[in-house]
Symmetry: C2
Subunit: 307 residues, 2 copies
DNA sequence: TATTCCGATAGTGAC
DNA sequence: GTCACTATCGGAATGAG
């Protein structure tokens, strides 16, 4: 995983066409004369747009297909890795500090709705295994980005560097897991101890990572979101962005296979997206006021990265 | 009536206060924990705003009172004229090329709703007479501003200047009215004719002037709008501006006294304001799309002023 | 149906 | 619940030594 920051403003051109004839009367109550009296509108009712022939709609929704088809054609800042069954990319519009997408390449599953695709148990098994792999990777990337701010990591580093006693840093939990690929290659200070009965474990970065699918994806190809939970990113711009990752709209991969009666199957209708905005970290309720949530998340991020 | 263009951007300062506690939950469904878990919001619920003590609300609504009380303290660009019974001003936010307000000074009527105030027949008589006076003045001001573009006026001027035959210009209607205070002081060309059986009457500018009150005024002091009907002005900024002058929401002074059963008495509730936007000149319906109406009015104005 | 600022909401277009 | 753009809609403040 190399750098990221895939930031590029898409330039769009547009032509403003004035002069129309009859608007779709939202709450029509125009009298019949109006139409006859309207000489100004040069009357070019834009071809009644035959639904179905919208190339761009198809193209935009199918954008993830390009990564699946030609993963090797992208730089490391876009495609993180790929193998026979999966392509892993940085989300082009990350909604959190680290936001990746796991794209299964299986043509038999790629165009299915995630709920359906993940009913295939064998396939689900592969996906879950790859998700675990990716989760470790993402946790490592998060540590690479934010580790320098972490007090928990600092405690561990201090002990490893011999700058502090094991008793100075407050022990978070018992040391158990081992996702600490710190590259302390011999540059440890001189007075390192031999017996370290309570080396601080460092921050559990993996606990900050979420893995799931959207109940109603917009992009056509099957993809699993693997992202940090901070929701701190310039691309996180509106309520749906936030709620799509902080309500049951995001279905954890661990919850699959979904029971046929699962409530997330039926309630696809906007319900989750319309929920009040609630801070994932402290539970503060912001109603519909996205801007205030956004500002709040900025401050939460500053505290969170220092944990 | 001197110049106008009372254009001045009001400067406002504002202070953004972050950090709030509990939003008014639009569609509240936050659990009880949220409140307890919210340590971040520094909890300064802005003083629950005691309703009634809003000095600025009162002041803004009463702003027209200053003209009535001290008309002499304003320049001619603001107060057009004043006498014992009336003050006439340029609307500070004109919604058309020429937009004036007739302010009756009578304390017995000034704070009444216009429907009520104009039930006093003697008072109504004075108002109607003054409105007619003002209407002529406004028509003259409109001619001063736009006369140079008018083909109808040009026809008349051409004949008066001897530049054209009376038969060249197409006769609009029979010459009858006489609101033409053209200042053709002796600079007429040499070959002016004596007998002019069909001198073009010039444009009927008074026909472009509307005089009326709003069914539900916002400003507290009684005022009658006297304005050109073009709705072409930078201050004409949203739907309510337009519909307040182009629906029955504007009640013509000539319609007074209003019958007790008049439909405009009862339907004060937003009905008129919510109507589709319809061009006053050609009847084109723009639904809710104010911007398109605005652009359309720009083009209508170019044609209209050349009539 | 005062103005102004700001932000939430809604529709569109994307070759 | 693609993004990006525009515009509509909606509430809150408007004061001041
Ligand atoms: N061209 C693209 N390349 C990479 N990611 C994309 C692209 N377009 C959209 N996305 C992301 O794809 C995800 C689709 O979300 P969803 O379909 O709701 O699960 C969003 O997080 C987008 O930011
Ligand atoms: N301070 C002011 N001086 C002059 N006209 C004003 C002022 N404030 C508002 N107006 C105008 O007063 C009119 C009041 O409209 P209404 O109460 O709806 O009949 C509007 O046309 C405003 O533009
Ligand atoms: Zn919070
Ligand atoms: Zn028109």
């Amino acid at each position: 995983m190399a750098d990221s920051d895939s930031e590029e403003g898409l330039t769009r051109e547009e032509m403003q066409q004035q002069e129309e004839v009859e608007p779709p009367p939202k709450r029509a109550k125009q009298d019949a004369f109006a139409k006859l009296m309207a000489p100004k509108p040069k009357s070019i009712p834009p071809p009644p747009k035959p639904p179905g022939s919208r190339p761009h709609l198809f193209k935009n929704r199918m954008a993830l297909g390009a990564y699946i088809a030609n993963p090797e054609s992208y730089p490391a800042s876009v495609v993180i890795y790929h193998n026979a069954d999966f392509v892993v990319i940085h989300d082009k519009f990350p909604k959190a500090t680290v936001h990746t997408l796991l794209l299964p390449r299986s043509p038999r599953h790629s165009l299915l709705h995630p709920f359906e695709a993940l009913e295939d148990e064998q396939f689900l098994g592969k996906v879950k295994a790859e998700v675990e792999k990716l989760k470790v990777l993402v946790a490592g990337e998060l540590q690479r980005r934010l580790g320098a701010f972490s007090r928990a990591d600092a405690s561990r580093e201090a002990v490893l560097n011999g700058e502090a006693d094991v008793l100075e840093g407050k022990v978070d939990e018992a040391t158990e897991d081992g996702q600490d690929q710190d590259q302390d290659h011999g540059k440890g200070k001189s007075n390192r101890r031999n017996k370290e009965p309570a080396l601080p474990s460092g921050r559990d970065w993996a606990a900050e990572i979420k893995c799931g699918v959207h109940a109603v994806p917009s992009m056509g190809h099957l993809h699993i979101h693997v992202l940090s939970r901070d929701m701190h990113s310039p691309a996180m711009k509106h309520r749906k962005h936030y709620n799509s990752f902080n309500t049951p709209f995001l279905v954890d991969v661990a919850d699959f296979p979904l029971e046929s009666s699962d409530f997330r199957r039926s309630s696809k209708d906007e319900g989750f997206m319309r929920r009040d905005l609630v801070c994932w970290r402290c539970g503060a309720n912001f109603g519909n006021r996205f801007k205030e949530l956004k500002d709040h998340l900025e401050r939460e991020f500053e505290e969170w990265k220092r944990e």
